[in-house]
Symmetry: C2
Subunit: 421 residues, 2 copies
């Protein structure tokens, strides 16, 4: 059917850590491309699919399945942690990718990821231009870390933020009920190696100094143990208990990650996996004598589609749709970004931003989002964060009480090229 | 208004670890008592409220607030971890409690907890009889551990089980997407020091040997590291990744808790908080070389009202209602229990069971719920567990994107007795 696909195929790949809504972006990409009669080939395990010529033929999936993708967490085609280096250093890989694209009539390249992926997308676009191969390259934003430049927020973040705020509010009610005779200090470890966006979102769970979370530890502020102990003690004496949210990336003034203090080898020489929450809880127990509990939600926080933010879901779908539309218009080297046009009422729109302004930048939290004492969020942070967790978008549930998450067939296209070494 | 409360007051207290639905039981207790014109006095921080004469006057709360309790996790009046010993050993405490009950015209004692609470309820009832004080004592079941005898299940367990199954299914999709280049083994730590009920409920997340969770570790089976490693390796080689759910209570054949192997002191003499998941993940990393991640949901699993089971919620309310009705009928020394009358369709009813059959017993998982190889659940377990997580009962959410959990005034009655030392 050449007339049904006059413009060549579209290659879509997922990159880096997956989120609760990256498949919603994929769903929008495929639906939008289908509406334009463009076939989507998805990379199996992200960009590795392009290198290995493992291309998933999404036309084998029903419209209902593609719709169900929008409420399924994880990465339906597989993702990967592979960062391509410069064109010079990794030239063979970039060239291989273009060969695969040529062999399968791929004229559009959509790469769904963070900073690194934006960089890769840009480089592929540069090499295609150099080779005179007509390829339109569009980045698609995604990351629970919320650290992409230009865009107001990153799809995936809002849902992880909602998970965080809801979980902290719930656990705090538990701790409050038990504090008289049991746990006095509870530590929640939030993702965020470089920026405290998810830890900050926990701040939405309460208002005022006596509501949990009482203390938030940000990687943007140096961690000082004595000051932390003093704060914990003051909160416990005033409130009766203390809920702490700590970003995994907190560091002491000399740049040492606190998480690294919690690990190492035990007396048998066995690896001791630690983390920030276990370390802080242990230290509070030793130094202040309080009964402690702690949680490390880990992947749960970025896969919790069951408590996704409706705002986040809509934005994830909007960037997927816009990415295809931009690509089909020939807008090369751009990324659809979210532009906030109003806080109250919250309004946003999609715009195109040059990948060069996004690639390899890292957006930190603005300094005025962190309270002066360093242990909480400001009203400015609330104004920014609150709309992002607004609205519920639960998945459908089956009679078995579980969300009806979809599995794809992931049928691979027949290969046309020799193996990639 | 003596005519409005002809029968005296009802004392209700929450005991032990709270759950996502213990307040739903409280809500049903108060609504039912109000319908019978009986005032409910709640113990502040559980039974300590009776000892300290800290009695919360629930008549100060509006009907809307009491209804909202049904969707609020935690323990609204405070709970406590206090186990009363025998009548001989703790006689002063039991007598003090009766004094407080007399001073406030309390003729009904409802104690909402687990095995220990059933025992306390029974002893209070015995002492009241001995003293000739007319007091009707009714236990009310609650525990995420699901280890109460007689009752088919325990309110609180179904919601924690649903949280577990949903979270494991979601995290498994994340791991599956990343396994090619990142995490190959993921370990989820479930509550359950003595029985593997919550670990077993994770088994509902998948079916067949290739669906997550691939391996479940139960406290009912001795943990053998070499065998575990072999199983993990086999799963990774067959499926590409391995999701492990481990009960916090797993022990080696000599009775050593595996969790204790993960803790201890680090080289600075600091307490190293460990746990089962961190230990297993560290050992897998060392021995098999796989990239690992792990999660410790801790209190999140028992406070996650946002993903509560509708079955569990209804049962939590039903036992609250029945407890009041039993009490007003003068049924002393009993507990409303859940009787399963049919698996398919799932049907249940409430019956009264003597506290003497429940107190201090611990229900283990039946041996035929664990697969012969020890690493999964059987069809019998599925038939039992699946109805318990069925149905959704989300809380209402506010415009801020957070569940609308209610806070009570918790107005204390004026005290009539001297301080309790």
């Amino acid at each position: 059917m050449p007339s049904a696909r006059p413009q060549g195929n579209l290659f879509y790949a997922q990159s880096g850590g997956v989120t609760a809504v990256i498949n919603a972006t994929a769903s929008a990409v495929i639906h939008t491309a289908r509406a334009h009669k463009v076939r989507v080939l998805a990379g199996r395990n992200g960009i590795l699919g392009a290198l290995r010529e493992e291309l998933i033929d999404t036309s084998k999936e029903s419209a209902a399945t593609i719709s169900a993708l929008a409420h399924t967490p994880g990465g339906a085609f597989g993702s990967c942690r592979v960062k391509l280096k410069s064109l010079d250093a990794d030239r063979a890989k970039y060239e291989r990718m273009l060969e695969v694209f040529k062999a399968h009539d791929i004229r559009y390249f959509l790469y769904n990821g963070g900073n690194d992926s934006a960089d890769t997308t840009l480089k592929v676009s540069q090499l295609a231009a150099e080779f005179g191969y007509p390829l339109t390259c569009v980045g698609v934003p995604k990351t629970v870390d919320n650290d992409l430049a230009v865009t107001d927020t990153c799809p995936g973040f809002g849902s992880a933020a909602k998970y965080t705020a809801v979980s902290v509010r719930e656990a705090a009610l538990d701790v409050a009920a038990m504090a008289d005779t049991s746990t006095k200090v509870f530590v929640y470890e939030a993702m965020g190696r470089h920026a405290g966006w998810l830890a900050a979102s926990a701040g939405l769970a309460g208002k005022g100094p006596d509501q949990a979370p009482h203390l938030i530890l940000f990687p943007e502020r140096p961690y000082d143990e004595a000051e932390f102990f003093a704060q914990v003690k003051a909160v416990v004496e005033r409130v009766g208990y203390c809920v702490v949210v700590a970003s995994e990336g907190i560091q002491t003034a000399d740049g040492t990650f606190v998480a690294d203090a919690g690990g190492g080898k035990d007396s048998f020489g066995h690896t001791q996996l630690g983390g920030v929450a276990s370390h802080l809880a242990g230290r509070v127990k030793d130094a202040l004598g309080y009964k402690v509990h702690w949680t490390l939600p880990d992947y749960l926080q970025r896969s919790a589609r069951h408590v996704a933010s409706e705002t986040d879901l809509k934005q994830a779908q909007a960037v997927g749709k816009a990415a295809v539309e931009f690509a089909l218009k020939g807008m090369n080297g751009v990324m659809p970004v979210i532009v906030r046009t109003s806080d109250t009422p919250y309004r946003w729109k999609i715009a195109a931003a040059p990948l060069s302004e996004i690639a390899n930048h890292e957006k930190k939290m603005p300094a005025d989002f962190i309270r002066e004492d360093g242990f909480g969020i400001t009203d400015a942070a609330r104004r920014y964060l609150e709309p992002l967790i607004r609205g519920e978008a639960p998945p459908p549930y089956g009679r078995d009480g579980l969300p009806k998450y979809v599995s794809l067939r992931n049928t691979l296209l027949e290969r046309r090229l020799p193996d990639w070494k």
